[in-house]
Symmetry: C2
Subunit: 315 residues, 2 copies
């Protein structure tokens, strides 16, 4: 496949770097300030060199990528809420041109799912978004594969929050202390709001709900509570009872809920560090648990590249 | 799809029972003593009634199922070693007639993989066998989906052995005592050799190796040690060190090994009871863990039915 990659953060850059290994070719790349197009294929090293030396991937207008001869748009710009722009417009443009779209950006899938499906229905292109839920973990493909048999989902879908809760419980440290440590390690961002307030986990749960029940939920429909106000004493009390606290997302026909929950200390949901886990309840196969790396450039890019492998060959 | 189901044990019976729910129709059924064919579709209840009252699913020759107008052979006879008969002949017959084959029987895939792939290549039919590894857990479809990125696998692939080891560790009881308890509960069979000697887990690992590396391994190529001689004192020693013992199967380019191994007491591999777990090592996505029910009629049948959903529509 010939890829146009928009957004060259950790995930987009890894897609550019690994595409060749998966048998694909990158013919266009854009970040917020510039673009580069070469129908005979771009070299990853040249793209990254220019980004490092000139601060942008290319001199061309970022919009010029849409004029390239590409098969698949990889939308890897940062997730935005509400109108999910500029990601949504990128997706609309590619679908209008009958191209496939693979998203790492959660915004369009969580905030404008109905419109996304409508645009897809009017296009010859297909939309896939495995990378938006659980990073490297094949959650959506497993749900698709189980073909209507998944009835509900539950999981730990934010590695930053899970790292903080794991460390608080293991070391008896307070929230602010562990957050600062996580920021030093690069596990938490300078502004950790998105992760610790539960927003990121809620977006993933909204996407799961939309896929499982053909809902048209948005973030506003989710009941969300974060971990920033959780006192260390709550974790100590839980430990006395053989339990611990995790930021759990729950997706059921009753709705989407994210919040701190008591879980068994050595139970399946109590994954440690930045790991993510998803539990799927099925009609006849019992409960399936899938855990792995929920974030990271190459890990999330591998989900994008798996999606590209699932696309119909031609549009 | 129109199904011919051969073998009506727990798995085959569940396939017959659930097929309609997945949009398929059973047109032929056979057990070792008889067969029933109806091109307009068999009723599950009628099949089971006859099996209960007359001891067989039908008066016809079991071989008559191959003359039915079917799309997919579901091979669910008991796993046999060596020549893997009669399962292998059933598969050969269906492929020679250009029909698809979905196996729950591990024998033909573990013992005659090369021949199976050769017959498939000469046929218009496709062969799938998700149910042979890890019951309800979508192991093989995940490997296929990751498209060459899985480099090695490790797992707990026998629920009976895992139940025995879990109980021995939790209760401080000896092997013979727990085995008798497992037999009372129906978790272990009257002759538990296949499970406790590691044969069943080894067959699954051989299948994984054949799929991952296009090997043509058989059970004879696996290094297998069971749990029957494991003293309770070994579990006590492990517990003093925060560890426990599990029957672990390992699949790597170096070969297939199954045996009792020390694992972290609260680690990912230490699933409890009859659960199974598979760990997949990947090139760029880190380690994926998938756990769930590794046995059971409806659970394993759901893997068979998922395979049927993956088949190309027409042969």
């Amino acid at each position: 496949m010939r890829l146009a990659v928009v957004g060259v953060g950790a995930v987009g850059a890894s897609v550019v770097e690994l595409a060749g290994e998966y048998g694909h070719e990158v013919v266009a790349v854009a970040d917020s300030t510039g673009g580069a197009v070469d129908d005979s294929g771009l070299y990853a090293d040249a793209v990254f060199d220019r980004k490092r030396t000139e601060g942008t991937v290319g001199d061309a207008d970022p919009e010029s990528v849409f004029d390239a001869d590409y098969d698949v748009l990889v939308e890897a710009t940062p997730t935005t809420l509400g109108d999910a722009e500029p990601g949504f417009s990128h997706v609309r443009r590619a679908l209008a041109d009958d191209r496939h779209v693979v998203l790492a950006n959660k915004g369009p899938v969580a905030e404008r799912y109905d419109e996304l499906r409508t645009l897809e229905a009017e296009s010859a292109g297909t939309v896939l978004f495995e990378a938006t839920v659980g990073g490297a973990i094949p959650v959506l493909s497993t749900i698709a594969d189980l073909n209507g048999q998944v009835t509900a989902a539950r999981g730990i879908l934010n590695g930053t929050a899970n790292f903080i809760l794991s460390r608080m419980a293991a070391e008896g440290l307070g929230y602010e202390h562990v957050l600062a440590e996580a920021q030093d390690l690069g596990v938490a961002e300078a502004d950790p709001t998105f992760d610790v307030e539960g927003t990121d986990a809620a977006l993933k749960c909204v996407i799961l709900s939309n896929v499982l029940y053909e809902d048209s939920y948005t973030l506003a429909d989710a009941e969300v509570e974060g971990i920033a106000d959780l006192p260390g004493s709550a974790l100590e009390l839980a430990a006395e009872d053989g339990r611990t606290i995790r930021l759990v997302g729950e997706v059921s026909p009753d709705g989407v809920r994210v919040g701190p929950r008591l879980v068994a200390e050595n139970g399946t949901l109590a994954v440690s560090g930045t790991l993510n886990i998803v539990q799927l309840e099925t009609t006849h196969a019992g409960r399936l648990n899938i855990s792995g790396r929920g974030a990271g450039g190459p890990e999330t890019a591998s989900a994008v590249l798996a999606d590209i492998g699932r696309l119909p060959d031609t549009v």
